[in-house]
Amino acid sequence: MKSINIADQPWLSMRRTISITVDGIRYRLFRASVTVAVIVVAVAFLMNILAESLIKRSVASNTRERIDTSRVIYNWSAKLSSPGSQESIIIEVANCSPDSDLYRETQRFAAMNDDDMAAFQTHAQKIVFVFDFFNSLDYAKRRAMIHTASGLEILNRLRTPENMEQFKLALSRIRSVHFDMSFDELDAVLAKGPEIRKQVKTIITARRNAIAVINKTLKGKTILEKLATANGPFGDTIRQAGFIFDADQTAPLVADQAQRLLDILALEESMEERPTRQLIAQQANILPADVNVMMMWKYLDGKRFATRYLEKMQEGGLKTEGLTPDRLVDLAQGRKENAALLRAERLTLDAGKGVLGLGERLGWLLFVSMLVCGIGITNAMMMAVTERFNEIATLKCLGALDGFIMIMFVLESCFMGIVGGVIGSILGGVIGLGRMLAAFGVNFLGAIPIGDILVGMLMSVLLGTILAAVAAVLPSFKAARLAPMKAMRVE
């Protein structure tokens, strides 16, 4: 005798659920692959933008570093020939770290103790904050607030009460602008103004005296020619004048770069001579009158041409001391690298800030593309549910719980999300990497943040999966709520 006693239906094991789901996907492979393609495109787009942003950001900081290093010579030749303006000194001090050479050097010129110097820097930073605020405004807003004042004039202008009122009024009217400094603090900065000005003037005077000491030792030579010997007695002269000029690190770098600049100048002048010009013309198969300096640098890249060029220079009676064919090739390549650096700097100007290096516009674009993808997946899953009415109803007749049906569809979507996410992130990463390498060249290979990109890929896969799972919730719910009596219906 079979008696009926009703109990709760147990849950199906996860393994069986997964196997049923996978079998279902395999049976409908074509439809599933179309859905996967949608996810692939969306995730590839995401990953591509992510990879490019990450690479751009990394290359940007790398470029800035390399450019800063390559410009040490310009800084020193400028510093040793002019004391600088009041604004430039304030900005310099505000931006340097307390253990940098520049900080200690300024402290020495200003003859301040540690505390005074720290206070000086803090004030300089506040002044720079005010400068930056006004520099970030467009012309109309700036004019409404401080008329045409710029630099230290701004502080002078704000010190008169009516002008201050005008500034406050304009600030309260223009809602889109936020001045992140309290007015009390601003007043303090303004009150400190004369003192700062005096300190800056002391620094300028001290620098001018130091420069005068150095100028005495030039004896008709240019500062660049002297800096090329910075490893020797001229370095000592600089140090004696009061500058902090590190003999082990800064001096060799400056000397090397100065020599390089001198050599470049010498080479570019040599091109004006007849024998060398003819050699380039011969190589390029053009008239000597059409030869320009770019061609010289282009051909000097090869060692054979460099050797012949050096011979011609000697033939033309030019000074060639210290120049070898290898040196010429090296100079040409240095110029090329410099050009690449400049190009990289230009290309990475739009490198975004924030965690992922995405700008606001890109973030919005990504959001919309993800939304479109989500709707696409929802639509595909809706179709899959409609198509499988009979199957779902049958499963429910056989004792499937609503939860099982729901999990079945969410799982199906998740699997497609994982597959699509993996393919998409690899595709997007490779495309992004390729595009960035094509833009910046192979000498930025070291600047590629592999770790960050891998994390980005992982995130993309995860996001694709979550997106697919969320998109499948509504169709799965619909499937789970389907009445089992639909199975009785004949198709």
Partner: protein, 257 residues
């Protein structure tokens, strides 16, 4: 187990037979676009354990609705369905799933096998839902396939089988959790005469040997040769119930009067 003897003294026998399905004042109406359509207008029937009952009626008579009600697939508007004295309306979703899984076997006109599963997987799916261990499910599934004569085709998918074979797999599937009631919705309608006959023989054998209660909606007159009782539904009401002995069956026509 209740025996299925010839229907000589049916009324007296019925008194001590166990009732497996009982409906009380069963009514069902649908509201469609503002029009109230009454599919069932009050049905009272008692179905006994081990019985083979055929349900007949023209399309639109409410036959399918009645099937959904007694199969615990739909709930009535008015009235009650008792399956072994358990009121179906009182059950939770989990208990309903348990009921459908363990107590009722469904056989559909269009077989409704899961397309991407092999015959054996189809048969073992309800066991998996019921919590049977895979190894046991496998051996039991093979036994059931053997019962319907498809043991050597266990690895075939529905698309690789004929209609009759698919229906036999469906029968094996419906038996997988030893149900008390087998609900068949025109099981032979999509099959030719010969294979239909095979299906009917299997059903008859199940009824006789295993004592499974079979409720069968059909237009197939051969069904009348093997069933215990016949029930006619017309316009949402029970038109007539008759024992097999009271019905004259002639080839080419049916006359119950």
């Amino acid at each position: 187990m209740a025996e299925t003897t010839p229907q000589s003294d049916a009324a007296q026998k019925n008194a001590d037979r166990r009732i497996i399905i009982r409906t009380v004042g069963l009514k069902k109406s649908y509201l469609m676009k503002g029009v109230l359509t009454e599919a069932l207008r009050g049905m009272d029937i008692e179905i006994f354990q081990g019985e083979f009952i055929s349900v007949m009626g023209p399309s639109g008579s409410g036959k399918s609705t009645f099937f959904n009600m007694i199969g615990a697939l739909d709930s009535p508007s008015v009235g009650r369905v008792f399956i072994d004295e358990v009121d179906v309306a009182q059950l939770t979703a989990e208990e309903l799933a348990y009921l459908r899984c363990h107590k009722i076997g469904y056989i559909f006109q269009s077989y409704n096998l899961i397309k991407y599963m092999t015959a054996l997987e189809n048969v073992t799916t309800p066991m998996a839902f019921g919590g049977v261990m895979p190894d046991e499910a496998r051996s039991r599934g093979m036994g059931l396939l053997d019962l319907v004569g498809l043991k050597d085709r266990w690895h075939h998918r529905p698309i690789e089988m004929s209609g009759g074979q698919q229906q036999r797999v469906a029968i094996a599937r419906s038996l997988s959790n030893n149900p008390s009631v087998l609900l068949c919705d025109e099981p032979t309608a999509n099959l030719d005469l010969h294979t239909g006959q095979e299906i009917l023989e299997i059903l008859q054998r199940l009824n006789k040997e295993k004592g499974v209660t079979i409720i069968c909606a059909t237009h197939d007159h051969r069904m009348m040769n093997i069933c215990d009782r016949l029930m006619w539904i017309r316009d949402g009401k029970i038109d007539r119930i008759a024992d097999r002995g009271d019905v004259h069956i002639e080839v080419g026509g049916i006359d119950g009067h």
